[in-house]
């Protein structure tokens, strides 16, 4: 295989489907895409071949095959830090930005009970932070010792106080699955996430890919990164632009899935006025969050608990009982698709409610405080009010037809809302589900990836 260097076969081995996309980066053009059920339980190549068979003969000419993966539960990361609001939070943000799923977060000294909890969580790796540079070393040294003894063999990325590094190297001596990165929080309220992110990807490729059976793809494809990280790269490219081709500026992207909803933002998010006081940890320009309890199929029961069912019913022009009945039906049957007009309306209204919840949690918020000097506003997190563009991706949105706009409207800030959602965004829909693929292509052909995103994201 491999005769046309501008032809890229891009793959995503997801938990449910293996998706393939054939791109000619020279034209540039998306030539074909196809999907087949993932077969990570047996040989992941079977699902890959099934999808390949649906792609047509040109796919065999691809000069390069790049694959992202969120199979087998995604990249499970446990975050360990010192203070919950500082280095533990920094570790969480770093793990999410690296495409991970944060399965647990721990602070201060790890206790025997914490270690038992950690073992039960079966993390693929642990991101160990703690202490600013020059600050506390005791906790991270204690925690490194506890992890070395309590969870031998579990990959660790140590990204804490650099003054503890020598001691940590001693503790983790002879452990090739342990990596060292620059501190995720070198100073109070300053984050430096890229070095830890690079180490996480390195370990993902070297260790996790094999552990999840994805190494069987290696004879034919390069497994390059976790899927959410590929999407974040695509969103960042779309925001910033490349070379002479401008990007779309600050933007937000929402991927509503069956089990989780991912939200990505590329925006500064600074306070809109000098009269607003910013509190808490600053957040990165490229930020990803994932809501494990907001999904349209597997987790729809949780979504239903958190949203106003009456309001969903009103939006869908249905009754609350009909909404509950629909949720009950699809929860037990993830492949269940809406058939009637009413079911379409209910599905879209629930997706809009999920979209609102997930975006609201991603954004910062504004609090009004009365002080002796008068009214003051305090902001925590990012103010995404000025963001002009919201991109929707994921199954329910792509399949939602004309209703995609209704779903994405959930990402718009309602009057008087304290959460800082985009106030007047335009909506774009990733109907061909290309974001992950363009994130993979961005490594080699950023200009083509940008051009294809601009061409195929449809206004709605």
């Amino acid at each position: 295989m491999g005769s046309s260097p501008s032809l890229y076969l891009l793959g995503d081995v997801g938990s449910t489907f293996t998706k393939l996309c054939l791109v000619d980066a020279g034209a540039p053009a998306v030539l074909a895409s196809a999907a087949a059920p993932t077969t990570v339980g047996t040989d992941v190549n079977a699902g890959f071949d099934a999808a390949l068979g649906r792609l047509g003969p040109r796919a065999r000419e691809a000069g390069r095959i790049l694959v992202s993966s969120s199979a087998a539960g995604g990249l499970r990361i446990a975050a360990v830090g010192l203070v919950p609001e500082l280095t533990m939070k920094a570790a969480r943000i770093a793990a999410l930005g690296a495409g991970g799923k944060v399965v647990g977060a721990f602070s201060f000294r790890l206790t025997a009970q914490d270690l038992a909890g950690l073992r039960e969580l079966r993390p693929d790796m642990i991101l160990l932070a703690g202490g600013t540079d020059g600050g506390d070393t005791e906790h991270i040294i204690h925690n490194a010792g506890a992890l070395a003894a309590g969870l031998p063999g579990v990959p660790v990325v140590a990204a804490g106080n650099r003054e503890a590094r020598e001691e940590l190297e001693r503790i983790f001596a002879g452990r090739p699955e342990v990596r060292f990165a620059a501190n995720v929080m070198p100073e109070v309220r300053r984050l430096d996430l890229d070095p830890a992110r690079a180490c996480i990807r390195e370990l993902f490729l070297e260790r996790i890919v094999a552990a999840k059976g994805l190494d069987r793809l290696r004879s034919r494809a390069e497994v390059v990164r976790p899927t959410p990280e590929a999407v974040l790269r695509a969103v960042a490219l779309l925001s910033r632009g490349h070379g002479g081709s401008p990007g779309l500026g600050e933007l937000l992207a929402v991927d509503v899935g069956g089990a989780t909803t991912d939200v990505y933002s590329c925006a500064e998010g600074r306070p809109s006025s000098p009269a607003v006081v910013l509190r808490g940890l600053p957040e990165p320009f490229e930020k990803r969050t994932v809501e494990a309890d907001i999904g349209m199929r597997h987790t729809i029961a949780h979504l239903l608990e958190q949203c106003d069912v009456e309001e969903v019913a009103r939006a869908a022009r249905a009754t609350a009982d009909e909404v509950r009945a629909w949720a009950g039906a699809v929860a037990g049957d993830p492949g269940h698709l809406p058939a009637s007009e009413r079911e379409h309306r209910i599905d879209a209204a629930l997706a809009a409610a999920g979209c609102r919840l997930a975006v609201a949690r991603h954004c910062g918020w504004l609090e009004e405080c009365y002080t002796p000097e008068g009214r003051v506003y305090v902001q925590e997190g990012k103010d995404l009010g000025p963001v002009r563009c919201v991109v929707g991706s994921g199954g329910p949105l792509a399949a939602g037809g004309p209703r995609a706009g209704e779903v994405l409207a959930g990402a718009r800030r309602a009057p008087g809302e304290s959460r800082l959602l985009p106030s007047a965004p335009e909506f774009l829909i990733d109907r061909r589900y290309l974001l992950w693929a363009m994130g993979l292509l961005a490594d080699h052909e950023p200009a083509a990836a940008l051009e294809l995103m601009k061409r195929h994201l449809e206004p709605c």
Binding site: L82, V83, E85, L86, T87, G130, G131, T132, G134, G135, D136, T137, E166, M185, E187, V188, R189, V277, R279, C369, Y370, T371, P372, E373, V376, V378
Partner: protein
């Protein structure tokens, strides 16, 4: 470990409570930094928990609290106890500014804040140099070296 000069002592600085007086805070930051301290400035409207969290992460030797709007007593209540809870029982705790409303006798104000566990109390007339001199003295007494 190779011998290296002792790092400058770390101190946490901020204006407590719902107080948004930012100018004095900036002046204190510059003055303490110039005097050789590693200043972690949390800015205005800082809660007790935020001072303590930053002190834990940075292993700070001192917390310097400003309060300019007259509600210092309420905002600072329980600060020392909270430090003790967080394992920072011995940290130096300074407070300064317009700590109470009106023209109260400073000796009385000082006594009140000392009783609350603050090591040093500075009134409205104090300049940064007073705080710097006091911090040098207190750290020297504890054997912590200043960077210069």
């Amino acid at each position: 470990m190779s011998p290296s000069p002792a790092p400058p002592p770390t101190m946490i600085l901020g204006v407590i409570g719902a107080d948004c007086h930012a100018v004095g805070n900036k002046i204190l930051e510059l003055a303490f930094r110039e005097a050789g301290f590693n200043v972690v400035n949390l800015g205005v409207m800082v809660a007790q928990e935020e001072f303590i969290a930053a002190a834990i992460e940075t292993k700070a030797q001192a917390i310097v609290v400003s309060s300019l709007y007259g509600h210092g007593e309420m905002d600072c209540r329980g600060f020392r106890e909270r430090c003790v809870e967080a394992g920072l029982g011995r940290i130096l705790l300074y407070v300064g500014g317009n700590l109470v409303v009106g023209k109260a006798d400073f000796a009385g104000v000082e006594a009140k804040f000392r009783a609350m566990g603050f090591d040093r109390v500075f009134g409205p007339g104090s300049g940064p140099e007073h705080g710097i001199a006091a911090l040098r003295e207190d750290l020297a007494a504890r054997g912590a070296a200043l960077g210069q």
